[in-house]
Amino acid sequence: MQIETKYLGQVDIIEENIKNFEMGILGFEDEHEFVLLEIPNNNHFRFLQSIHTSYIAFLVVNPWDFFEDYDVEIPDEELKRLGIFPNQEHQMTIYNIVTLGDTLKESTVNLLAPVLINLKDKKGKQFILNDTVYTTKHKLFSQEIGE
C-alpha cells in the first residue's frame, strides 16, 4: 500500500510492517498505526511515520548508537502488555525520539520516554521511565567537547 509521508513523499509500505500503538504516542493519542521508514543514505536515523497523517513523523534513533551506557529498565508488567514475556526480550526493539535543532549539534533526544516496539507482534508504546536520571532533552553529541 502507498502512504503519504512527511519527508519522503509517497512511499510503498508492506502492511505486515505496520506497528499498532494502542495508546498512540503521548500527545498524539489518536494515532495508532505507524511504520518505521529508513532514510536513504543514512543509517543513524529513521522515521516513525503515521500511516494516516502525513505530517506526524518522528525522527528516531537507536539510543545505544549515541549513548553507549543508556540504561533502560522496563517493568515486566509493561512488557507483558506489549506481548513480550520473560526470555522474549529479543523481540523488542527500542527507539528514542529526536528533536532536531538547526544543526545536529543542537539536536536533542528524549531518553526519558523510549518507544518500545514488539517486532513479532507489531505492537508499540511510548513508555516513561520511572525513577530515572534521564530527561526529554539530551544533546545527541553530548560526549563531544564543544568548539
Binding site: I97, L104, S107
Partner: protein, 72 residues
C-alpha cells in the same frame, strides 16, 4: 471532579486495590503514599506533560531536515 477532605493519616480507596494515603502535611507540601498493583503506572503529571510537549516540539517541520541529517 470528586472532592474529598482528608487529614494526615487518612486514606482513600480507588477501585478494588488502590489506596492513596495522606502521610504528612507540612507547610503546603503533602506527602502521599500510594499502594497499587504493579501493573498500574504512577507518574507525576508534569512528567507526562513534559513528554507530550517534547513529542509535539519534535514534529515541528524542518523542511531541510534531510540536509541537516546528512551533516554526519
Amino acid at each position: 471532579m470528586l472532592i474529598l477532605n482528608r487529614k494526615a493519616g487518612e486514606s482513600i480507596i480507588i477501585g478494588e486495590n488502590i489506596e492513596i494515603k495522606i502521610l504528612e502535611v507540612v507547610e503546603g507540601k503533602i506527602k502521599i503514599g500510594i499502594e497499587a498493583p504493579k501493573d498500574v503506572n504512577i507518574l507525576r503529571k508534569e512528567v507526562q506533560d513534559d513528554v507530550k510537549a517534547e513529542n509535539k516540539a519534535s514534529i515541528d517541520s524542518k523542511m531541510n531536515l534531510l540536509d541537516i541529517l546528512n551533516e554526519v
